[in-house]
Symmetry: D2
Subunit: 294 residues, 4 copies
Amino acid sequence: MELQQLVDRIAAEVMPGGASADYIPALARVDARRFGMAVATLDGEVSGAGEYRQPFSIQSISKAFTLALAVGDELWERVGREPSGSPFNSLVQLETENGIPRNPFINAGALVVTDHLGPGASDRLLAFLREESGNDTIGIDEEVAKSELDHGDRNRALAHFMASYGNMRNPVDMVLHEYVRQCSIAMSCADLAKSALFLARHGVRNDGERLLGVSGAKRVNAVMLTCGTYDAAGQFAYRVGLPGKSGVGGGIVAVVPGRCAICVWGPGLDARGNSVAGVDALDRFTTLTGWSVF
Amino acid sequence: MELQQLVDRIAAEVMPGGASADYIPALARVDARRFGMAVATLDGEVSGAGEYRQPFSIQSISKAFTLALAVGDELWERVGREPSGSPFNSLVQLETENGIPRNPFINAGALVVTDHLGPGASDRLLAFLREESGNDTIGIDEEVAKSELDHGDRNRALAHFMASYGNMRNPVDMVLHEYVRQCSIAMSCADLAKSALFLARHGVRNDGERLLGVSGAKRVNAVMLTCGTYDAAGQFAYRVGLPGKSGVGGGIVAVVPGRCAICVWGPGLDARGNSVAGVDALDRFTTLTGWSVF
Amino acid sequence: MELQQLVDRIAAEVMPGGASADYIPALARVDARRFGMAVATLDGEVSGAGEYRQPFSIQSISKAFTLALAVGDELWERVGREPSGSPFNSLVQLETENGIPRNPFINAGALVVTDHLGPGASDRLLAFLREESGNDTIGIDEEVAKSELDHGDRNRALAHFMASYGNMRNPVDMVLHEYVRQCSIAMSCADLAKSALFLARHGVRNDGERLLGVSGAKRVNAVMLTCGTYDAAGQFAYRVGLPGKSGVGGGIVAVVPGRCAICVWGPGLDARGNSVAGVDALDRFTTLTGWSVF
Amino acid sequence: MELQQLVDRIAAEVMPGGASADYIPALARVDARRFGMAVATLDGEVSGAGEYRQPFSIQSISKAFTLALAVGDELWERVGREPSGSPFNSLVQLETENGIPRNPFINAGALVVTDHLGPGASDRLLAFLREESGNDTIGIDEEVAKSELDHGDRNRALAHFMASYGNMRNPVDMVLHEYVRQCSIAMSCADLAKSALFLARHGVRNDGERLLGVSGAKRVNAVMLTCGTYDAAGQFAYRVGLPGKSGVGGGIVAVVPGRCAICVWGPGLDARGNSVAGVDALDRFTTLTGWSVF
């Protein structure tokens, strides 16, 4: 079966469900039943179905890209690489582990990554995504960004808490500002799949330049597999069996090393914050292709 | 034995120890072996020994007074009344109990009390302390206040964390500002003992006006006995057996209901943050007088 | 008002409520609205009202007496003295504090106390209670004891967990056996009040012999005030303001140092496991007499 | 490079380190610098180096096999599939999650799996391992089994704790007995690699019979990748990038789906309980072959 037929079939059969994230209005008003899916192969070809060219709020998917931009030995002194085993915002482990977040994909860890990138972090991310996708119109949804800041007390608490342990280099206000801008980027399945291809190419960007060494790309993929889907990484590893990163905007990016990158979007979330349609579509994809890592 | 002889004897026999708090310079440079003690009887008479007229940083002792100014049914919907069973800054219980601090004497709880008092909280406290002590020169040590703010990331984290649960009415910056000012008040053992007398008089102030009903005063005393000395309340209840509130400036205020209020000062702290000389002096006091509540 | 009039009035006005403990049949079938109250003064005189001569299952009240029989420096190396700040069976603190229970009144702590007393612990307790109450018919409810053992998995888990830290000297089976026998003693308010008088007499038993030094009695009273009513010690300190120990059989023993010992019984429990009628009756008692410690 | 050359090279270059497990004498006295490695390809051919025919104590590696024998919908109602995020014996999560262990590879979860298999669990496991390896001499090290039972207080605590939540069907003594026997099986790298081949064959045993469906095999592999190496699964996923299960006897079994099964043995453990030489050898193996899943 060709990839185009495959994504068409998945789009026809996918089972949506769940409810849109409701903590900010801009996300809450998105219809939970919308759906899009795109697969980008190593050569940059995209097969898409549904609303795969519709921009949506990438939210925590941004964490996979900022990790790739920041990864390196120095970063791992400030953030761990192990699954958190608790809800994604938890402060408990931060306290028992002296301000070192468990991994770069819980909020605390992503704040450290942003702080590590420093001033201009969100612009660097935006430039990277535009270059990889070839789409200069990708931008930040300012309404979402403002809402995120207005609801940012918990992230602010995390940042000040880490600062109290000396694990924050820049002012908390600056880090929060960059962090919400990263999460508020709006882009489509097609553009996200293209932007994630470097992880399928073991670190090589679309222009042939190397962003990461083979080892760095492996690291990002490993963190995605073990920590990429909040408190459901074990379940995702079983059902999908691919490195993946989800966001509460309803998107999920997944990587088949050596083959392709995939992005699905369905705003309805399950109890753990992952897209119901997105997990279902990826489950179907790996079942039909046999491209799980297991 | 008369009270004056008693405090003289205690001052002569007291065993100092421990080290001064070291998280801000203004506290760290105070000699750990200094000592003062004052007992104020119901009629306002003060017996003192050592440096009992020397102002020091009251720190968390302020929490007993702000609680008395804020106490009421509405407050108890925002803060609990049970011992915390964990170090005084812990965020863990805040998380498992949805942003409601365990009691008004852990930092999170004191921030809620300050928020409950609202803008001008520190001025109200200052006015109260000046009136009860009859000393208009009591003021805020601005160097301490500034240092506290500079080291305030953890308290800021607590405040934002509670705000994320809707348990903060005023802007975090305002609450922090008032909170550090309260903690940075400098006053002497003599003035603190006089200021605490209303708790020995079941709620009646020095001018005969009632600040609290009998029940309200009992409440504050009960919280002091069960939660007033950080993670050592059980040990303090045994050795001293009085409602008491300590601060990392080395002061402890204790109350003998119906008899007197006591303040001791010794900057050397034990591992739990209580004055070594202060606990020792109060232990001797209750042993010599038999005025423990047990 | 004379004590007899006082307890009659309280028995007439007391507000029962809550539900009987339901984890074992023998407790579940006791009518939640029953009530008894007895006050024993220092000379051993008892004033009682309601079913104050009706034996009931003392359950955790036994912990106050076994603590008094075991108390000493050596015990405090194996169990703490601080409030637990969490539900009475919690394993979490045991883990973070290396098998040393927070205080002797949580189940883990009481198991250590029983282990400390060693083989024959329950017989020693029984002998003590019979002597102090002058009632040789006090015995163990074997149905309750059997049910407790049958539902003992959690206590067994606690004991094995402490054994894994080296904090259990005797075989777990023996300790559990003694522990459930202690909890399954059945006796009346009158007998319990008389048996607790030594705590009001600063350690002196009914025959004039000293069980505990003044300091030991103070220690037991302090632990009762700060830890005696599960996760509601702060609330109990405020409403009642006396050292007290409750049990899920619906009994509460309280001590007015230098005056009297009180026992109330009402099987209906609140959410924290304390007798609703019992707390209400003690609240009325201290309000009417003014004999709170605060 | 042929597999035999590969394992020879790895055996020559591997860096041992760490110390042998010391909680029981039989493990403590094994020289930490010993080493063996075997790779079994899908057709059952074994390439080995070092002491790859030397039996050692498989310990927690047994958990991967008992999971495979027990896996099914009913099991997942009694045990979770998510990384634990805390040390492998922790009781904390058991308490907050009502007696349902996080995953089948922490001790609590493995006890549930053993309970699920019921009486005779260890004999079933032994029969399976003998059949897959074709080695009838595989047996239980009775000295190790006895020592494990003697040091079994923590596992006994876990089992009673789960029993208190109704998550234990058989008597705790029986479950413990079976559990320690499973852990005390002694076998070689060669035999373990052959025994794990069914996971590389997506569920098909060496005789062509199917033990698990494709989905069941994927499930076991996914749990191994996310939870198989104690609190270092993220690090193992990065360095090795294969589903793996380690034991404190120094063994690690890893699976390359569709290709081979590997077993390495080196008794020296790192701080998290994984074989230092074992992780190093697997790291070299995936680097040299490129057979990581990422």
